[in-house]
């Protein structure tokens, strides 16, 4: 009497299929939205290029794509890319190592947090373009300027996000570990480091994005090779096509790193359970 199912298993399977269809359709709707978005982007570009600015001022997308292809297949592309990438990697590594150390220091010492806070506020309020030119004054036209500037600019941001990750560690876990008589080093390796892996990966990603931007900017002023130098050369010869082609390549490169390198790192660290959003927010 009291116990009967009004819905038979078959009916449930049926209904479930309907819900599935509904969710799949909404997923396809969103994918269509993405396609529409890109088409609109390209469409607007064509309109601006054809009717507003003129093809000389703003070459249409296919011209820029062709130019980008020429750049990629032409000689010197690998060398240019490598010159920039090397600076980014070195700058990024410097920034990240400094940030991990400083992040720990400011996470656990109020005094250092105060001092580094003041210094950070000073550095952050210098426009990056001014730093790029200072690098030019200090180091002349060389590879060293872009690298060090990138590290210097990225460090405050990465440092504070690493520190935030560390302070975000669940204090109850630490209290628990203490109550079981764990030593300081056991707590660091057992609780703090594992719980701050995400913060460090987040910091690395942020460092990378920042380092690219700053390296590029500094190369514009103080380098005779690299992507930034190419962009400057295009600018100085009024070559919008080259400027946009290099920019598109740069964006493509960022996309590849974001989706293939950092996603993978995160998957590794979290066994796929934690898939984070794209880093838009962390890209200053």
């Amino acid at each position: 009497m009291a116990y009967d199912t009004s819905v038979t298993p078959d009916a449930v399977a049926d209904l479930s299929a309907r819900e599935m269809r509904r969710s799949v359709m909404s997923r396809w709707g969103l994918r269509a939205g993405v396609v529409i978005g890109w088409l609109a982007f390209i469409g607007v570009w064509y309109v601006f290029s054809g009717a507003v600015l003129g093809t000389q001022q703003l070459p249409p997308p296919h011209t820029v794509a062709a130019e980008a292809w020429q750049v990629v297949t032409g000689d010197g592309f690998g060398a240019t890319l490598w010159a920039s990438l090397l600076r980014v990697i070195v700058g990024c590594t410097l920034a990240l190592s400094a940030s991990i150390v400083l992040g720990m220091v400011i996470a656990y010492s109020a005094w250092w947090r105060g001092l580094l806070g003041v210094l950070t506020r000073f550095f952050v309020s210098i426009p990056t373009v001014a730093l790029a030119i200072l690098a030019l004054i200090l180091f002349g036209v060389s590879g060293l300027g872009p690298m060090l500037t990138a590290a210097l600019v990225a460090t405050p941001y990465v440092m504070s996000s690493v520190a935030q990750g560390l302070t975000g560690v669940d204090r109850r876990l630490i209290v628990m570990s203490e109550s079981f008589g764990r030593t300081r080093s056991q707590i660091i390796t057992g609780v703090l480091l594992p719980s701050s892996v995400l913060a460090v990966i987040g910091g690395a990603r942020q460092a990378f994005a920042l380092a690219w931007r700053i390296t590029l900017l500094t190369e514009v002023f103080a380098s005779s090779d690299g992507v930034g130098f190419q962009i400057r050369r295009s600018f100085e010869s009024y070559d919008v096509r080259g400027l946009l082609a290099w920019t598109a390549l740069f964006i493509g490169l960022m996309f590849i790193f974001e989706n293939f390198v950092f996603r993978q790192l995160e998957r590794r660290a979290f066994g796929g359970a934690h898939v984070s959003q794209a880093t838009a927010e962390s890209t200053q």
């Binding site: 009291a2 009004s6 819905v7 479930s16």
Partner: protein, 255 residues
């Protein structure tokens, strides 16, 4: 007069990345509630109670089946008290009340203040929710539901997130306010004592979202949780739960 008509209501959630299996939250629920009655829906966690209320409130789509919530032939105004207070943390208590008020007039503010005074919160109208205790926040939630002048009141375990003593005094509040207005009420809970204390009728849900029993509670109001009559009905409800569980377990063994 408000009527809630529910026919063969079914909700199946498709598999999600976190839980890769479909879930049947409601398995063909039918019921009809009319007039100034207080109906409790009693069931353990995961038996589809929240899903049921969400569908009745019109914020979720059923997979199959139909719901009609009408007042004199037109769609009824619904007031919803949620399991957690759900107040905008960045607005004061009074602004939270005004946020849901759709028919604005020069009396809006006075009405909001009246319902706040009804739950004893006149003095904190200007404070932010985070400055109130859990019990006070939930009282704001109750005042908010009454503010929209609802034909139908939906309440989703409103007292489950607080300690027993606070819950007890809030149930008392609710009884008094309800006796005053006698809105058609659908009250979801997993607490047998609470259901018996408040309801005229108890619908019992089992996991999978199936109604397996429907018990009238004809006791005088106001009721106290420790009345002997309330205790007796409580015992009966628990007995029926036990026999349902036994039947389900027995059924499982046969399959």
């Amino acid at each position: 007069m408000a009527t809630i008509l529910i026919e063969n209501l079914t909700k199946v959630y498709p598999p999600t990345p976190t839980y890769p299996q479909q879930v049947q939250a409601l398995g063909g629920v039918s019921m009809s509630v009319t007039g100034n009655v207080f109906v409790a829906v009693l069931g353990p966690s995961g038996s589809g109670k929240t899903t049921l209320l969400n569908i009745v409130a019109g914020v979720e789509e059923p997979t199959a089946g139909a719901v009609r919530v009408v007042q004199d032939g037109v769609p009824a105004q619904v007031g919803y008290v949620f399991q957690e207070p759900r107040l905008l943390p960045w607005r004061s208590v009074l602004d939270n009340m005004l946020y849901v008020q759709n028919r604005k007039s020069d009396r809006s503010k006075r009405e909001a203040e009246f319902y706040l005074s009804m739950v004893g919160l006149s003095d904190v109208a200007h404070l932010y929710p985070a400055q109130l205790s859990a019990g006070m926040q939930q009282r704001v939630g109750i005042a908010r539901a009454f503010l929209v002048n609802p034909d139908v009141l939906l309440m989703d375990e409103p007292f489950s997130h607080m300690d027993a003593l606070t819950g007890r005094s809030l149930r008392d509040y609710l009884q008094r306010i309800w006796a005053h207005t006698r809105k058609t009420a659908l009250f979801v809970t997993h607490d047998v004592g609470e259901a018996v204390e408040l309801a005229d009728r108890i619908l019992m849900l089992r996991p999978g979202g199936v109604v397996f029993d429907d018990i009238p509670v004809n006791l005088q109001r106001p009721r106290r949780p420790d009345d002997a009559a309330v205790r007796a009905v409580e015992t009966e409800v628990l007995r029926r739960f036990d026999s349902m569980e036994a039947a389900v377990r027995f059924g499982d063994q046969r399959n």
